[in-house]
C-alpha cells in the first residue's frame, strides 16, 4: 500500500537544487534545475537516455561541476563536505570478475568507519549481517558476487548502501536488466525502506512501474520538464516534451499508465500492400 507523498509537508527539504546548471568538464548537461525533495520522499527521475538523470543523481552526491545555482543536501551546500548518502550504481558498471564475496562488498559501505586495521570490527560485521538478513541475502554472504541472480546482485549493492546508515538513498536504474517479478520485489523493498524513514531517489525507464509504486515523479530532459504525482505528470503533453515521442496515457484500476504506440505507419502500409495484393488476385 502506498503512503502519501510527504512532498507538500512544511519544513526544510532534505535535498534542494536552486536554478542549478551542472555537468562535466565545461559541458553543461542540465540547465536551470530547481527541485525540492522532502525527507521521506520516494522520487522517480524519468527521462530519455542522455537526458541527465544520472547527472542529477551525481549532482546530489557532489560529483559534478556546478556552473550556476546552489545544491543543498541535508542542510549542507555542495560542493563541500560530501553528504552521507547511500548510492547504488548501475549494475552494468560493476566488475563481476573482481575476486570478492557478497559480505566483502556489503562491508565496503563501512570502509571509512572503525579502526585502522585490515579487518572490520565486530559491530560492523554484525550490522552488515543484520542488513543482509533483512534483504534476504545472508545465506549468500560467502558467495562470489558473480554467482548471484540479477535481483540478488541488486540487493547486495542496496545492502552496501544501507550499511552506511544513510538518510538518503540514491539509486541509478535499479530496475534495469531484471525481470518483472524481480523489478516488483526491488520496488517493494525500496517502498519498505521508504516507510522506515529513508528518502529514496531513483532513476528509471520503467514508467508504469513508477506509476504503480512511486508517489512523486520528476521528468528531465536536459532541464526539468515537470514534477508531481504520476497522475499529474503522466499526460501525453508532458511525456512528449520529456521523451520527444507520442505516448498515449490510459487509466486502469486507478493507475495512470503509459501505453505502447504500435508502428502504425508501417502496419498501415503493410496492410494496404496486403489489400493491394488481394485486390490484384481478385
Amino acid at each position: 500500500m502506498l503512503h502519501l507523498a510527504p512532498h507538500d509537508l512544511a519544513g526544510a527539504p532534505i535535498v534542494e537544487l536552486k536554478d542549478v546548471s551542472c555537468g562535466y568538464q565545461g559541458e553543461v548537461v542540465l540547465q536551470d534545475v530547481s527541485l525540492r525533495v522532502m525527507s521521506e520522499d520516494f522520487v522517480g527521475l524519468l527521462g530519455p537516455s542522455g537526458a541527465g538523470k544520472s547527472t542529477l543523481l551525481r549532482t546530489m552526491l557532489g560529483a559534478t561541476n556546478i556552473y550556476a545555482g546552489e545544491v543543498w543536501v541535508e542542510g549542507r551546500r555542495l560542493p563541500g563536505r560530501r553528504p552521507r548518502v547511500g548510492y547504488v550504481p548501475q549494475l552494468e558498471t560493476v566488475d563481476w570478475n573482481f575476486p570478492t564475496t557478497v559480505e566483502e562488498v556489503v562491508l565496503m559501505g563501512r570502509a571509512m568507519e572503525g579502526t585502522l586495521t585490515p579487518w572490520t570490527s565486530r559491530s560492523d560485521r554484525a550490522k552488515a549481517r543484520e542488513i543482509m538478513d533483512r534483504l534476504g541475502i545472508l545465506p549468500l554472504a560467502k558467495r562470489h558476487i558473480r554467482a548471484l541472480s540479477g535481483g540478488q546482485q541488486q540487493r547486495v549493492f542496496l545492502a552496501r548502501a544501507l550499511v552506511s546508515e544513510p538518510r538518503i538513498l540514491l539509486l541509478d536504474e535499479p530496475t534495469s536488466g531484471v525481470d518483472i517479478r524481480t523489478r516488483d520485489e526491488i520496488l517493494h523493498l525500496l517502498d519498505e525502506l521508504n516507510h522506515q524513514g529513508i528518502t529514496v531517489i531513483m532513476t528509471t525507464h520503467e514508467l508504469n512501474a513508477v506509476a504503480a509504486h512511486l508517489p512523486w515523479v520528476v521528468c528531465v530532459n536536459r532541464r526539468l520538464v515537470a514534477q508531481g504525482s504520476p497522475e499529474d505528470v503522466f499526460t501525453p503533453e508532458i511525456l512528449k516534451e520529456t521523451y520527444g515521442a507520442e505516448m498515449p496515457v490510459v487509466k486502469y484500476q486507478g493507475l495512470t499508465l503509459v501505453a505502447e504506440v504500435p508502428h502504425l505507419i508501417g502496419r498501415k502500409t503493410a496492410q494496404r500492400e496486403d489489400e493491394d495484393v488481394r485486390t490484384a488476385r481478385v
Binding site: 568538464q25 552526491l61 560529483a63 560530501r82 552521507r84 548518502v85 548510492y87 550504481p89 558498471t93 560493476v94 566488475d95 573482481f98 575476486p99 570478492t100 564475496t101 566483502e104 562488498v105 562491508l107 565496503m108 559501505g109 563501512r110 570502509a111 571509512m112 585502522l116 586495521t117 585490515p118 572490520t120 562470489h144 552506511s164
Partner: protein
C-alpha cells in the same frame, strides 16, 4: 643445497630477491585488478630515467628515482583524469618512454655509464649491498604497514573508484599513496630484476593467485607467497645454471602461471562434468518416457 649460502653475496641476493619479489606480488594485486598491468612496465622505464638523472646530479639514487617514478605516476593519473580522451595506456606510453629516452640520452653522452646501464636494464643481483638491503627492508615495512592500514579503502578503490569516492573514501589520496608505494617498490627491485623484467614480477604472481582463488584477501596472501617463492627459487636456479637472476625468476613465475592455468582448467572441467552428472541424471531418467510418448 646449502653450499651457496656460504657466500655472503649470495645470502644478500637471496634475501633481496625473495623480499622484492614478494613485495611486487603484493602490490601487483592492485595493479592487475585495476587492469593497469602496463603501468608496472612503464613505470620501471620512467624510474630508469630518474635513476640516471639522480646519478648525473649526484643525488641519492633511491630518493631521486622514487620521486621521479612517483611524479611520473601522478602525471599519468592527472592527464588521464583531466583529459579522458587520452587513454591511460597512451598516457603511460608517452610519459614513461619519454623518461626512459631521457635516461638513454644522458647515458649516451658518457661512456662510463655502460656497466651501470646494463645492470639497471637486466639487474645485478650479485652486486646487492648492505645499503640496498636496508632500502629494501624500509620500503617493505612501510608498504606492508600502509597496505594493512588502508586495506579497506584500497579494496573499495580498486573495486570501484568512482563509487568509493561517493562513500567518502579519499580516492585521490589513496591513488597518490599507491603511486608512491609502487614507485618505491620498482626502485628497490631494479637492482634485483632489472628494468626490463620488473613488469613480469608485478603481473604474474597476482594472475596465478587469481586463477586459484575468488577471495581478495586470499589473493593478496597467495600472490605475495608466489612472488617470494619465485624470487627465492629463481635465485637458487640462477646460481646453479649460471643465468641472469631476473630471467630465472621470471621464467620460473611464467612456468608457475602455466601450471596454475592447467590446474584451473582441469578444476573447471571437473566441476562442469559433475554438474552435468547431477543435472543430467534425472533428465536422462525421464528421457525414455518422453521418447515413448512421442514415438509409441
Amino acid at each position: 643445497m646449502f653450499e651457496p649460502l656460504e657466500y655472503e653475496f649470495f645470502v644478500r641476493a637471496l634475501i633481496a630477491g625473495t623480499v622484492t619479489c614478494g613485495l611486487c606480488g603484493l602490490i601487483g594485486v592492485y595493479i592487475v585488478l585495476r587492469k593497469m598491468s602496463y603501468i608496472g612496465h612503464g613505470l620501471s622505464h620512467a624510474v630508469f630515467g630518474g635513476a640516471v638523472v639522480s646519478y648525473v646530479l649526484n643525488f641519492n639514487f633511491y630518493i631521486g628515482a622514487s620521486i621521479w617514478g612517483f611524479l611520473s605516476a601522478m602525471l599519468i593519473s592527472l592527464i588521464t583524469r583531466r583529459r579522458p580522451t587520452i587513454g591511460a595506456d597512451a598516457a603511460i606510453g608517452i610519459i614513461t618512454t619519454a623518461s626512459f629516452a631521457l635516461g638513454v640520452a644522458l647515458i649516451s653522452r658518457s661512456s662510463g655509464f655502460t656497466r651501470s646501464f646494463e645492470a639497471a636494464l637486466f639487474g645485478n643481483i650479485l652486486g646487492v649491498t648492505e645499503n640496498d638491503l636496508k632500502a629494501i627492508g624500509a620500503v617493505t615495512v612501510v608498504t606492508v604497514v600502509l597496505v594493512l592500514i588502508a586495506y579497506k579503502q584500497l579494496l573499495f578503490t580498486t573495486f570501484d573508484p568512482e563509487v568509493a569516492r561517493y562513500y567518502g573514501v579519499p580516492t585521490e589520496w589513496i591513488d597518490a599513496l599507491f603511486s608512491l608505494i609502487l614507485a618505491a617498490t620498482i626502485v628497490v627491485s631494479i637492482q634485483v630484476i632489472g628494468v626490463t623484467l620488473i613488469a613480469a614480477t608485478i603481473v604474474i604472481p597476482p594472475i596465478i593467485a587469481r586463477l586459484l582463488t575468488n577471495s581478495f584477501h586470499l589473493m593478496m596472501i597467495l600472490s605475495t607467497v608466489v612472488g617470494a617463492v619465485s624470487g627465492f627459487v629463481g635465485i637458487y636456479i640462477s646460481y646453479y645454471i649460471d643465468i641472469a637472476s631476473g630471467a630465472s625468476i621470471v621464467l620460473l613465475a611464467a612456468a608457475g602461471f602455466v601450471g596454475a592455468l592447467a590446474f584451473a582448467s582441469i578444476r573447471d572441467y571437473v566441476a562442469t562434468v559433475r554438474t552435468h552428472r547431477t543435472v543430467g541424471a534425472p533428465a536422462r531418467a525421464a528421457a525414455p518416457a518422453v521418447e515413448h510418448e512421442l514415438h509409441p
